[in-house]
Amino acid sequence: MKAAVIVFPGSNCDRDLAEAIRISTGTAPAMIWHRETSLPEGLDLIGVPGGFSYGDYLRSGAMAAQSPVMREVKAAAGKGVAVLGICNGFQVLTEAGLLPGALMRNAGIKFVCRDVALSVENSRSAFTGGYEAGQGVVFPVAHHDGNYSADEDTLDRLEGEGRVAFRYAEEVNGSARNIAGILNDGGNVLGMMPHPERVVEGAHGRLDGLAMFEALARLG
């Protein structure tokens, strides 16, 4: 299992994500600075972490999506490498065109930072295979721009193709159809606002995210 975590200026969940990957795979991922123009050979997983890349300038994720390393991430995603974008990482993946739609300011305007109940909608992906379909999990969220928005056709397509991976089981941020996480059409790119990497060890008080990283550990 070979993994990398992308680090942008302003990323702040990169080490949490790296630690979750290390716990589940036994190997620390390579940390890749955003200016890199190549990725390590033979990657099974690329993590795009949460944070406030480029201070959320222009739009959350917009600047990071134009980073040199994102060209490589797009190319790797095109070859089927698993890409997991969490929180700001989800925003970066939508801005980079790897996932449809956009993350807008929360409907309630406020930054939302709390545990939220979710349901696993698709348990057949490389990311969610360790969960049961319809299973309830609790992950923390911490975001200002998590209000998922896409046109009705796109939303219908996502639902019809089973690409809604996670749905909020409660009102959180105004997201269309309570979408918390989506897959790309190949099923190898997942973007989600909640933080599974923050619920993977005893000290976190909850282990709901561990099944995702254990499933990903089986990729390599």
């Binding site: 801005e95 807008m104 929360n106 209000n147 928005s149």
Partner: protein, 76 residues
């Protein structure tokens, strides 16, 4: 030469900031405001030979997210 790019939310896209400002205006006693939408103004200082097409590309690739935003270019 200079150009100004106005980035605005598409119709139908909820604008929570606009809603809050609308509310605040009403709170200040300003009546007759039926809606508030907040956008961005981006001022570009450009080489004189910059083409319209190049500015369009800047808008599409970075300045606006065309999933949720419209843009309008005004050359000064």
């Amino acid at each position: 030469m200079k150009a100004r790019v106005f980035v605005t939310l598409k119709n139908g896209v909820l604008d929570p900031q606009g809603k809050a400002v609308h509310h605040a205006l009403e709170g200040l006693g300003f009546g007759g405001v039926s809606d508030v939408r907040i956008g961005k103004l981006i001022e570009l200082d450009l080489a004189d030979n910059t083409s319209d097409a190049a500015i369009e590309d800047m808008c599409k690739q970075l300045l606006a997210n065309t999933v949720i935003e419209n843009y309008k270019i005004e050359r000064a």
